[in-house]
Structure formats: structure tokens, C-alpha cells
């Protein structure tokens, strides 16, 4: 312990004395701060800021380092030493964070008199590299010491990992979301009021139900709710039909159904909306066709509830399909065989055995569709058309609208959060514990019962037309990008691609002339940085949840899963509210984009990791430990090599999500760091559908290419393992 703590202490001191405490405009990697670190008021290190600029309030880390050093040298009893250091670093960490929260640009916000006596009237900037290094070194000194401060509290690696993940989730999920709460309680004058909060949260503006009682329109909350219920129900129905065909019939085109499960993952969220416009908009092909054939009027019905609903069902059916494949396959064939040997026919077996066993899975799929629909931003943005407002788009417009109204955004976000968290809690408490899925690792050699004729017919008639429709919608994306102006001028053209991705030869060499190159490269860069970080945080969390036991593990799991239930728009707003000011001032940087992707996509990494790690026999870890390896060596030499597929999945998924995500990102992009999706949204808002679709097509191919590349890179190191070799006979 002493060695590790000393190492962190030295790193912390280095950060305190030799790196700039605040975030500088030039950025850390520019290294232009080096000249000013010992003198400058802006890029100076904490130590010199204290000495030369009277910023005495930066003292806590220095004292913590000094006292820890004394404790390291003087206290002999190792347990006592560890406990003292835990205390010192804990208090140091607390005070360091407190000064950051208290003193903003304009001076201290609270504890004014205390910080004024320390010279805090000038105010300060947000935490930078130096502060980061100091805070992390204090944190790791604390966790390392804690690991040897009592009996059986595990080793330093595990405790540090727990501490790190709690700190990160705290700062980047709970801290920003708490800002929504604070802002929601704030009335226009800046005061806080609980009663006012409730009246605003449940105001009729949000919740009126005119559209149901045929007396006008509905509030956005009701719109969201009705849409989510209908979308959830429809996706479950379609998903079940697909899953039954996929697992219980001899349908010829099963591989095509497989494709259906992959496609939506690499489809940017508003692409389906765009394709629907090309089909059913006023100038859409289907609209024109029906007008010719039946003389139907060309209307704008696609802009509104119908269009959004259609787009969401198209987008989320594959997710329900994916979930329900597992549910349908998870039913042990021996139960169906038992039913058949008891003389039940195919319909009775389905009705009285298979279907009841699927019910919790169906409820689960419904809630997933429900949450996805509530959180969906791209489709309502493209198709809502100002006539059909849902919460997620309302949040967006109250931030980027003509008058930015963070308080209104916060109230809307609270309403949305209430709905999604409600569904999330129901899913976990009620459905999560009632699963009959019987996947045991033990090979169940029976055969699934065939479907009865009625069920089979129903499944085919539901699923196949829908599959055909999906195919038409996706083919629109391909056509739309090569047509000059959809609905008016159908001449074939590469114009959109050239405008977006043109390259020109000039006197100075090749030049990227296309308007999309900037955002394209930014997107790739950020996705490339975010993906491995997401995988590390997600799989690290999964490791703790599956393999370690510690106090508060359930709360820990719940909090890491929570960000799954927080809609992207809510995260976006909360990041703007929280990270626009010191102590953590990140808006406008590319860091905030990376961070938002890491914590948005982390739950999926966690789930994937949990699933993969549960399949690794725990005795492998224990064998490694009893052979003298510590947890870190065990992770490095035993677990990581066996986790290849899960790592690949986490990397791929987070890379792809970083490219396709729009809801949170659209709040956080800046002129310097624009992302592909927000660029496309901009084009859509200008009515430039051709270029938007061309860009989307390029994104889809980029992602396909990346997925294949990752498969080749990581999949090539063959893992040479049969499942649970330990059990081989």
C-alpha cells in the first residue's frame, strides 16, 4: 500500500505544482501553458497561484498531500496508517471540490465570508488539467489506503475501480441531472418554490387531453405518452410475429430477417423519417401513385402523429424482435414436449404453456419500446412538423428556440424523466424479477414445438408485409440520394455526394471541398476516442457487478443502469445546465461530446459485459487468485483474453452509437466541433433532403466498414476456447 500511495502522492504533487490548475483556452496539448505555469494568473499551477496571485483558497490539496506524507513516514502500524490517510485524503477531496463549487467566475456563491478572507473575491475559471490530476490522485490515494484499512476490504485495484466509477457516474450523470432538478424548482424570478414546481410540472399546458376528448389538441406529455403506448404495443406485436417465424418455422428467408436486426443499429435516427417523407410526403412516390390510381388528395398527413408513429414502429420493431428472439428461444423445449406428451395439440401448447411463459418477456419488450419511443428525438423532429409536439422535441425547442428558456426545458425534462424512470422502475421491480426464461448453460436437447396453423398464419400475415414495407423504406434511402430533387426532378445525379464530399485538386494539392468533411471527420474522431473508453468503463463496471461483492452493490448497479432510462434530450439539457460554468466547464469542447457518449452508451457495455462474464466460470478467477495473482493480473491475463467477443461488441456498439446519436449531441455541438447527425438535422430543417440522405448513406457505409474492420482486427486473434472448457469431459 505504502508504495502505491506514495506514487499517487507524487503524481498529485506534480499536478499541483507543475500543471495549469484551470482549463486554458489553448488546451492542454498545445503546451503553450508551459511558459506561464510559474507566473501566469490563468495558466498557472495551483501552487504558484497560491503564492503569487493570492488564491489561498486552493490550499486543501497541498495540506492533504503534506499530512499524508507525514503519515506515510511516521505511522508504523499499517492499518492505522491506512485509516489516517483515508481520513486526510477524504477531507482534502471534499474541500478541493467545495472550493470549486463555491467560487465561480463572479466570486464565491456560498460561504462568502470564509472564502473572501482567503482572497476569493476575484472568482475563478473551471477545473483544468492540474485540478484533474490532483483530484484523481487524491481519489486513488483514498481508495488504495481504504483497501488496507480494514479486514477483507479487497485489494487496491478493485477498490480503486469502484471509487473511479462512482466518481465518474457521480460527476457525469448525477451532477448534471441534479441541475435539472434545481432549475425545475426555480421560478422565473430566480427563487426556489416547491409548490410552483408542482403546478408547473402538472400544468394543463403539458397534460391537457383535448385530442382524446375531441376538444382541441393534446399537451406534449399526453402526446408522448399515447405515442409511447401505441408504439410499444405495435413493436411487441410485430416483434413477436418475427420472432415466432424466426425460431419456430422453416421460413426460407431467415438470413434476411437476421439483417433486419442489424440494420437499425447502423441507421441514424431520422433516416427512416426522411425515407417516409420521400414516400408519403406531398411529393412522395406513394402519394403520387395513390393520387394517380384512386384520385386521392395529396395531403401532408405524414407530418404529425401518423408519421411519427409509423417511423417509430419501423425504427423500434427490430429491437423488440431482438429481445423476443431471446424470450422465445429461452423457453425450454422440454416444457413444450411435456405438454405434447400430455396430449395437448399445437394450439393448446402455445396457448397454455408457451405464451404464458413468454408473458414477462413481452412485458419487458413493451417497456423497452415504450422508453425508446419517449426518448426518441430524431423522428418527431423530422416528422412532427410543429403540429405534433412531444416532450423530447419541446425540450429542444425551449433551448434553441427564439427565447432560450432553461426553466421550461427543465420542467419538460422532469416530466419526461418521470415517465421514463417510471417505466424503468416497473421494468426492474416487476418484470425483471418475473422472468421464466430458462437459459441454463446446460444444453437442452429437445425440439421447440411447431406453431399451430392459426398462429403461424397470423404471424406470417403480420410480419411479412411489414418486412416488405421496411425494405421499401430502406431502398428509398438509396434512391433518394441519387435524385436531383425528389418529387419534382427525378434525373439521376451525383450532385449531393459531390456537394457533401467533393475533393478538388488545386495548386496546393488535394483539397476537401465538400461541406460535410468537417463534421464527418469530427464524428469519426470523437467516436474513435469514445468507443474504447465506453468499453473500458462499461466492462469494468460489469466486472465489479459480476465478480466482486461490496457494500452498496445494488445501489451501484442501479445508478449505472439509470443513464439508460434518461432520454438523450434530458442528458443534453442537463449537460448544458451543468457544464456551462465552473468548476467543470466543458461546453464547446470536444471533451463534452466524448463524455456524453461514454456515459450514454455505458449501460449497454455493462449489460453485454455482465452477460459475457456470467458465462465465464467464476472458479477461473478464483484459480488465478489462489495461484498468487492479484485482481489486476487476473483481469489482465485471464478475464480480458476470454472476453474478446464482449469487448468487440462493446466497441462496435459504442462506436456506432456515437455516430448515429443525435438527441444529446444536438445540444452540445459547437461551430468548432460539429457532428454528422446535427449537420444532417440542419440540412433537413433547410429542406435539403438530397444532401441529408446522401450523407446518411455515407454514414451507414462508414459504420458497416468500421464493424467489419473491428471484426477483422479483434476477431483474428482466435480465442481457441470452447464454452466453459472446464466442464469438458
Amino acid at each position: 500500500m505504502t508504495r502505491t500511495v506514495t506514487m499517487w502522492l507524487l503524481i498529485g504533487l506534480f499536478g499541483f505544482v507543475l500543471t495549469p490548475w484551470y482549463m486554458t483556452d489553448a488546451g492542454f496539448w498545445g503546451f503553450s501553458w508551459i511558459s506561464g505555469v510559474a507566473s501566469d494568473g490563468e495558466s498557472g499551477s495551483a501552487f504558484f497561484l497560491m503564492l503569487l496571485h493570492g488564491r489561498a483558497w486552493l490550499f486543501p490539496p497541498l495540506i492533504a498531500f503534506a499530512l499524508s506524507g507525514v503519515a506515510l513516514l511516521l505511522i508504523k502500524n499499517p492499518v492505522q496508517k491506512a485509516r489516517v490517510i483515508v481520513g486526510i485524503t477524504g477531507v482534502g477531496l471534499l474541500f478541493t471540490m467545495m472550493q470549486g463549487l463555491a467560487i465561480v467566475r463572479g466570486g464565491p456563491r456560498f460561504f462568502e465570508s470564509f472564502y473572501s478572507t482567503l482572497g476569493g473575491v476575484d472568482g475563478q475559471l473551471g477545473f483544468g488539467a492540474g485540478a484533474g490530476i490532483v483530484l484523481f490522485s487524491l481519489l486513488f490515494m483514498l481508495t488504495t489506503a481504504y483497501s488496507s484499512a480494514g479486514k477483507g476490504s479487497g485489494d487496491a485495484f478493485v477498490v480503486s475501480l469502484i471509487g473511479l466509477i462512482i466518481a465518474l457516474v457521480g460527476v457525469f450523470v448525477f451532477y448534471p441531472v441534479s441541475h435539472i432538478l434545481v432549475n425545475a424548482f426555480r421560478v422565473p424570478g430566480g427563487e426556489f418554490s416547491a409548490t410552483d414546481f408542482l403546478t408547473r410540472l402538472f400544468s394543463s399546458e403539458l397534460w391537457h387531453i383535448g385530442c382524446i376528448t375531441f376538444s382541441g389538441s393534446c399537451g406534449p406529455a399526453i402526446n408522448s405518452l399515447v405515442l409511447a403506448i401505441l408504439t410499444g404495443a405495435s413493436t411487441v406485436l410485430l416483434g413477436l410475429a418475427f420472432a415466432l417465424i424466426f425460431t419456430r418455422t422453416n421460413f426460407i428467408a431467415k438470413p434476411l430477417l437476421r439483417v433486419l436486426t442489424v440494420i437499425p443499429i447502423i441507421t441514424p435516427p431520422f433516416v427512416i423519417g426522411l425515407a417516409l417523407i420521400l414516400l408519403f410526403g406531398r411529393t412522395g412516390s406513394a402519394t403520387a401513385l395513390f393520387a394517380d390510381l384512386f384520385g386521392w388528395e395529396k395531403t401532408r398527413w405524414i407530418y404529425g402523429f401518423g408519421g411519427v408513429y409509423l417511423a417509430q414502429v419501423l425504427s423500434f420493431t427490430p429491437i423488440a424482435f431482438l429481445v423476443l428472439i431471446g424470450v422465445v428461444e429461452g423457453i425450454s423445449p422440454s416444457m413444450e414436449e411435456a405438454s405434447q406428451t400430455l396430449d395437448a395439440n399445437a394450439w393448446q401448447t402455445f396457448r397454455y404453456v408457451s405464451f404464458p411463459l413468454m408473458r414477462p418477456g413481452l412485458a419487458n419488450a413493451f417497456l423497452l419500446g415504450f422508453i425508446e419511443s419517449l426518448a426518441d428525438f430524431g423522428n418527431p423532429l423530422v416528422l412532427g412538423g410543429g403540429r405534433f409536439n412531444v416532450l423530447s422535441t419541446e425540450i429542444y425547442f425551449s433551448i434553441v428556440g427564439t427565447v432560450a428558456d432553461p426553466a421550461k426545458a427543465a420542467i419538460l425534462a422532469m416530466a419526461l424523466l418521470m415517465l421514463t424512470l417510471g417505466a424503468f422502475l416497473i421494468q426492474r421491480k416487476w418484470v425483471g424479477t418475473k422472468s421464466y426464461a430458462t437459459v441454463t448453460g446446460k444444453a437442452d436437447s429437445g425440439q421447440h414445438a411447431a406453431l399451430s396453423r392459426g398462429v403461424k398464419f397470423a404471424a406470417y400475415t403480420t410480419a411479412l408485409p411489414w418486412a416488405a414495407f421496411t425494405a421499401v423504406v430502406y431502398s428509398m434511402i438509396a434512391f433518394g440520394s441519387f435524385v436531383k430533387l425528389w418529387g419534382y426532378d427525378h434525373t439521376f445525379t451525383f450532385e449531393h455526394y459531390i456537394r457533401a464530399f467533393g475533393i478538388k485538386h488545386t495548386d496546393f494539392g488535394w483539397k476537401l471541398k465538400g461541406v460535410a468533411w468537417d463534421s464527418y471527420f469530427t464524428t469519426l474522431e470523437i467516436a474513435t476516442i469514445a468507443a474504447p473508453l465506453t468499453a473500458i468503463v462499461g466492462l469494468g463496471t460489469a466486472y465489479l457487478l459480476v465478480r466482486q461483492n461490496f457494500f452498496g452493490k445494488n445501489a451501484f448497479e442501479f445508478s449505472t443502469m439509470l443513464s439508460f432510462a434518461i432520454p438523450g434530450t434530458v442528458i443534453g439539457v442537463s449537460y448544458i445546465l451543468a457544464f456551462n460554468f465552473p468548476p467543470v466547464e466543458l461546453t464547446g469542447t470536444s471533451i463534452i461530446l466524448i463524455i456524453v457518449f461514454v456515459f450514454r452508451n455505458m449501460p449497454v457495455g455493462v449489460r453485454g459485459g455482465i452477460a459475457a462474464m456470467s458465462q465465464l466460470d467464476k472458479s477461473l478467477d478464483e484459480a488465478s487468485i489462489t495461484l498468487g495473482a492479484n485482481s489486476f493480473t487476473t483481469v489482465r491475463r485471464v478475464i480480458r483474453p476470454l472476453m474478446g467477443p464482449a469487448i468487440l461488441a462493446a466497441l462496435t456498439y459504442s462506436f456506432v452509437r456515437a455516430i448515429t446519436s443525435v438527441s444529446a449531441v444536438i445540444f452540445l455541438v459547437s461551430a468548432r466541433h460539429n457532428m454528422a447527425t446535427s449537420f444532417i438535422v440542419g440540412r433537413v430543417e433547410n429542406g435539403e433532403f438530397g444532401i441529408a440522405i446522401a450523407y446518411s448513406a455515407v454514414l451507414i457505409f462508414t459504420m458497416l466498414f468500421a464493424i467489419i474492420l473491428l471484426q477483422l482486427l479483434i476477431g483474428k486473434r482466435k480465442l481457441r476456447r470452447t464454452d466453459r472448457v472446464a466442464k469438458a469431459h
Binding site: K151, G152, G154, D155, D617, S619, L620, E622, A623, S624, I625, T626, L627, G628, A629, N630, S631, T633, R637, V638, P641, L642, L719, R720, R721, T722, R724, V725, A726, K727, A728, H729
Partner: protein, 354 residues
Amino acid sequence: MTTPTEGSVVFKNVVKKYGNVTALKPLNLSIEPGKLVTLLGPSGCGKTTTLRLIAGLEAATSGNIIIGGEDVTHLSATYRKVSMVFQSYALFPHMTVVENVAYGLTVKKMPKNEAHQKAEQGLELVGLKGFGARLPSELSGGQQQRVAVARAIVLEPEVLLLDEPLSNLDAKLRRHVREEIRQIQQNLGLTAVYVTHDQEEAMAVSDTIIVMKDAEIAQIGTPRDLYEKPNSSFIADFIGDANLIDCDVTHTDGNQSDIVVAGTKLSLKTPANGTGAGKLVIRPHQVILSNEKTETGFEGHVTYAAYLGNMTQYTVDGPLGQLFVISNVSESPIKMGDTVSINFKDNDIRLVDI
């Protein structure tokens, strides 16, 4: 290779609780160096918990664990000089056999060449010379088992732990491998703690058997002690087969006891712990059946007879309840449905649970 205290294991009032569930009541035990001790008992009795406490994979709720004279209660598994053979073998599937065996050496920073050399020696010891380059999945179950043993012993642990090491092998191989394990343990003079629920396996390999029941020790002794001098009807029933018959002890003087069973007075050459209600332990082969009516003895009725080649098994109903009887007389005249008289070879009968 060991000095006297090295390799000993001592538990002092060790308790293990999971929340409100007590997995181990205050446990005291002492294992001598160089011995193979078996923890035996039905599932859920705490035997695996005890083994994992020695390994350091579980932390004791209270009490002290001393290995080789050193208190290791708070030492994690990484730092204990103990290695373990797992029920599932837990061979690392992505490493070759020699990498598996050398793993413990390399994590202790032994140079790779040297570690592999030692690993090869370990493999030779378990009879797997030349198998080093294979993957575990390319070995048979018995070979995997021996790799697991080699991996554990190359570290020269003070104590070798074996958690039901034979349960994944088929019956014939099991006998062979358990003899091998016993031989290696004796040749190296290792202290070994062995967990099993199979009493025959326990009897075959152990110096001492610790029988556990309901999170505590039921009896400690050599295999012979446990079979011949069980201290309770549980042990009598668990170690071998036994007929347990309710009786009343009226008098005992250390060598001789008078009892009343099914209304009949008997005098037995066996001690009892006192007088009062108790149980008579009669092994199946201690019952003598005969077709002719004898002077002493109870009358019974044969309800079931099964010829098994080297012996015949009977179920006999009578005043003593249902008795399970084994007769080695191959040409026995007794058939199902016969009325027989029942007598006992009384020299090995035990009185328990008084």
C-alpha cells in the same frame, strides 16, 4: 521438504455468516502437516465454505485462521501459500497446458524459461510429460484433472486444497485418479485438505475424516474409527449403511450394556454413554437370518430379496421395523416371502444418541 509447523492449519472459533444465514458455526480444528484430511458431509453442511476459508476466497466473519503458524485471517487469497484444485478444474482455456501450469510461477515474476521448465517437471510428476503444448480442451477429463493438480503443486504450497476433484470423472477413472492423488500427496509430504460428499472416496484417500453437518463438525476420526465407532446415528448412517433401531438402555458399565428393544431384553458387549432412550446401530452384514427357528432372536418376514452376485440383499419386516440385510452366503436358501428368525453378530453393535 517441510518443517514441523509448516503446513499445519488451525481454525480458532471461526464463524462465517452470509447476512443472516450462518454457513459455519464456531469451528475449531487442527490439521497436522503432511496429512490428507477430508471434509465430508451432505451438501450445504459447510465443508466447501471451510475449504474456501482456508484458501482465502471467503473472509471469516469472526475467529482466526492460522496456516503454518502464521495468522492469515486478514490475508487475501493472493498472498496465502495455499493452492487449490477446483471441482471444474478451472483450467484457463486460452492458455496451453504448460502455460496453465506455469501461470502461478509467472505471476510471481519467475522468468518465463525457468517457469516453463518447472512446469514441465510438474507435468512429469502427474504423468503428462509431452502434453505441454496442447490446449486444455484437447485433453480428456482425467488429463485435465491432472493438469489442475500439477498447476497447484508446482507452487510448492504449504497446503493443497482439493474441492470435489473427482466429481466430473466417470466411476472407473475416479478410483484410479484418487489413488494417484493420494500417492503424489504422500510422496511430496504435502498437507492436503480434500472436500467430498462421497463417503467411499473419503474413506479411500484420507488419514483423517472430518464429518460435517449443519454448519458444524459432527465427528473427527480415522476412516476406521468413523465406521466402527460412530458417535451418532447421523455418522452411522452417513458412513456406510446402517439399521438404526430405537432402544432403551437400562444399565451400562463401560464394557457391557443391558438394553430393551422391541420388548425384549438384550445384553450387549458394547459401552453406552448413559442410560435412557437411544439407538442401536446394526450394519447390514451383522444381521444373521435363518430359516429355522432359533431360541433367541426375533421373527421376521422377508419382503424383498435381490441377488447381486457376490452377495444377496434382503429387506426384512419384523418387530424391529424394516431391516436392511446383506448376506454373503451365495447359495442362500432364503427367498422372498419366507418367515425367518433374526440374530446379530453382537461384537460390533453400537449404541448411539443416548
